[in-house]
């Protein structure tokens, strides 16, 4: 490839994009949380997030969220290019307030769940899920 000024700019731009991605993703995560909570403080409490420590297959990772008093639970895969995974809503008549799904993870990252509880407060739970290329066990 002949290195023209245009190519050089393109190369430079893609490098910036690549190195800027993680920061970008975390900003997206922060923004999504802020939008969900309306800027309210997020504590810990009545919310359980179950995810594997190491994903058997990063393309389909089973996760489960559960809470006895949540009206809404948002799940974010913080390391994905698009962190937003799902938002589950529970009516006041819901007998159980848990949901499970499978998500795709681009790599090792934290999966975060934020719940809005009946009293209007917000709680958070997170779980580190490792995506590995696999190897050799004893």
């Amino acid at each position: 490839m002949e290195l023209t000024r245009r190519n050089a700019i393109l190369l430079g731009a893609s490098a910036v994009l690549a190195s800027g991605l993680p920061a970008l993703a975390s900003t997206v995560t922060d923004d999504a949380i802020a939008t969900f909570t309306g800027g309210a403080a997020v504590g810990e409490g009545d919310l359980k997030l179950t995810a594997p420590e190491i994903a058997e297959n990063g393309n389909t990772v089973p996760i489960e969220v559960a809470s006895s008093t949540a009206v809404e639970i948002m799940v974010l895969a913080t390391g994905n290019p698009t962190p937003s995974v799902a938002t589950f809503k529970f009516g006041s008549m819901a007998a159980t307030r848990n949901a499970s799904t499978r998500i795709r993870l681009a790599g090792t990252q934290d999966v975060v769940a934020i719940a809005k509880l009946e009293d209007g407060s917000f709680v958070q739970a997170s779980s580190a899920v490792k995506v590995t290329i696999g190897g050799c066990g004893g």
Binding site: E53, C136, G137
Partner: protein, 567 residues
């Protein structure tokens, strides 16, 4: 982490509480007295329940040599804690004399000369004698097999595990859990398990499609022994589809699932269990962490990481028993269970000195029958070791067997760099010993033994080393897979075990030129045991056999290509 001093104090406290305890006798009985079968088996029967634990036999039907690791680094909260103590530190910790039978059985120092003196270890006909002797004292003792039984030898490969199934059935286990068994492929595993005359347990063995428990592998089984209602809960190796080829058993999913373990403990307690035993293939550090999170387990019989510990480790009210590998040890645990709880225990790790413990004639005959169709292939001598050359594998980094395998890959497959999996199985060969085809299969046999040759960039090589290193040195045991570091030939590197993933491996060099590995340059890499489907190449045992046959006598240069810091 509990230091030995704390541990003894804890156990003293436990002794005061429970009235009796089994500590401190092991070294005296086994190490300082003449080796006789009676002494090895001597045990003052205690309480009302006996457990017999065998694990990680890796299809070793016959006596072998097995050198314990010299390097076994603990990280995070397990730094310097057992089982991450080796050699003289280990002997000091347990009061074992240098040169004693216990030193030979449990530590690596002076291995080849002690092996000459004390002979081979293991052999399932000797294990049978030990089990029979325990059953003579306690007829209703429970025999529990921690798995990695139907894998690891020529005959096991040829019979797809049937040789081991036949011999183990003769020992009459009460329950078993699993790991390498699944590499026979789910169809074969299902076929064997459906016909097993004992329980196949795994609370963490799930149906992959529905993420639900399976019917074939129940979570637990109840036993009534010595008037005690005992629940045995199985815990299979959690990372099977990651550490081994998941495509061979796509219907199954695993994981640690400690919350379900808690549910199962609560369930069996609610159903009247007075003693809860977890038959585990988690690996030792994972078991320790699980014991700290799950309440209500009395005994964890720990497997997978091949550690042999002369005393149980205590976490809360749970004792963790580690029983070695390759048929080298049998653990006996006697328990006093009264009023619905464990009041005390007595434990002995019995080393199977094959020249001291008489083989059980019936099981000997059965073993010979399994091997008979293959005798000439097994016994063919391919080469021999030089007068100073021991071949062994165990240890966090390269063993000499791995160096030899990597040399074979580089020369037979014309590669720059070789990679060999950091598995913990595989017996040792002494200096001046013939190397037979059976010996080569003992360190290479598996259902995905293709020796691939591929191109990797320097950058990808780094990613591979970092990925495997994190499986071993992640400070959180739940993220460890229980193998050792991938072995390399033709490649040198520096590893700082205290750093996070991505920063541990530096100074990668191509040994033959001394040049730094260039991230953008492409290298020819040969390896084996890829977890990827469709891997092509000759079988690793054929590659190694061809190399050894050409060499005749094996004398390896010392391998100093890996620099370890932060240990």
């Amino acid at each position: 982490m509990i230091s030995r001093r704390d541990f003894l104090q804890t156990s003293m406290a436990a002794a005061a509480l429970y009235g009796s305890s089994g500590f401190g006798n092991w070294a005296r009985v086994a190490a300082q007295q003449a080796l006789t079968q009676d002494k090895l088996l001597e045990f003052d029967t205690y309480g009302n329940v006996s457990l017999i634990h065998v694990t990680d036999i890796h299809a070793q039907l016959k006596p072998i040599y097995f050198r314990e690791p010299s390097v076994n680094i603990g990280v995070g909260g397990n730094k310097g804690a057992v089982p991450h103590v080796t050699g003289s530190d280990f002997r000091k910790l347990y009061g074992i004399d240098d040169g004693s039978p216990s030193a030979y059985a449990l530590s690596h120092s002076d291995f080849s000369s002690l092996a000459q003196a004390y002979g081979r270890v293991g052999g399932l006909d000797r294990v049978a004698t030990v089990i029979n002797s325990i059953r003579a004292a306690r007829p209703d003792a429970l025999l529990l097999d921690g798995g990695d039984t139907w894998h690891g030898s020529y005959t096991c490969y040829q019979t797809e595990g049937q040789d081991m199934v036949n011999v183990m059935n003769a020992l009459k286990p009460d329950a078993m859990t699993f790991h390498w068994e699944f590499t026979l492929g789910s169809e074969r595993v299902n076929e064997i398990v459906e016909g097993l005359p004992f329980a196949a347990l795994g609370q963490n063995i799930f149906d992959a499609e529905w993420d639900e428990p399976t019917e074939l592998f129940p979570p637990y089984k109840f036993f009534e022994r010595g008037g005690v209602k005992i629940a045995v809960i199985g815990q299979a190796f959690p990372y099977m589809p990651i550490a081994n080829p998941g495509w061979m058993f796509p219907e199954y999913s695993f994981g640690i699932r400690d919350e379900r373990m808690q549910e199962m403990v609560d369930e069996v307690r609610a159903n009247g269990a007075e003693l809860v035993v977890c038959l585990s293939h988690n690996g030792f550090d994972v078991d320790k962490q699980m014991a700290g999170k799950v309440t209500g387990i009395d005994v964890i019989l720990s497997g997978h990481t091949h550690d042999a510990l002369p005393e149980p480790v205590l976490v809360g009210d749970t004792i963790i028993v580690a029983s070695g590998s390759n048929g080298k040890f049998v653990s006996r645990v006697d328990l006093d269970v009264r009023d619905g709880r464990m009041m005390g225990f007595r434990h002995k790790l019995i080393p199977i000195f094959s020249d001291v413990i008489a083989p059980d004639a019936e099981v000997s005959k059965l073993i010979d029958e399994q091997r008979a169709p293959y005798t000439s292939a097994l016994s063919e001598v391919i080469g021999r070791t030089g007068d100073e050359q021991t071949l062994y594998r165990r240890g966090n980094f390269n063993g000499t067997w791995d160096d030899l395998i990597c040399d074979a890959l580089i020369s037979e497959r014309e590669a720059d760099i070789a990679m060999s999996p950091g598995v913990r199985w595989g017996p040792s060969i002494l200096p001046g010993q013939d190397i037979t085809r059976e010996d080569i299969w003992n360190v290479t046999s598996m259902s995905y033994g293709e020796a691939y040759r591929t191109e990797m960039t320097g950058e990808f090589l780094h990613v591979v080393l970092e990925d495997v290193a994190d499986n071993l040195f992640n400070p959180d045991p739940y993220y460890q897979q229980g193998g050792d570091m991938v072995r390399v030939g033709g490649l040198g590197y520096r590893i700082d075990v205290t750093k996070p993933q991505g920063d541990r491996i530096t100074e990668m060099t191509l040994v033959k030129t001394g040049e730094k590995i260039d991230p953008s340059k492409t290298y020819q890499v040969a390896g084996w045991a890829s977890v990827n489907e469709g891997t092509e190449g000759p079988k690793i045992w054929d590659v190694v056999e061809a190399h050894i046959a050409k060499q005749g006598t094996i004398s390896l240069d010392p391998n100093n290509s890996v620099k370890v810091v932060g240990a």
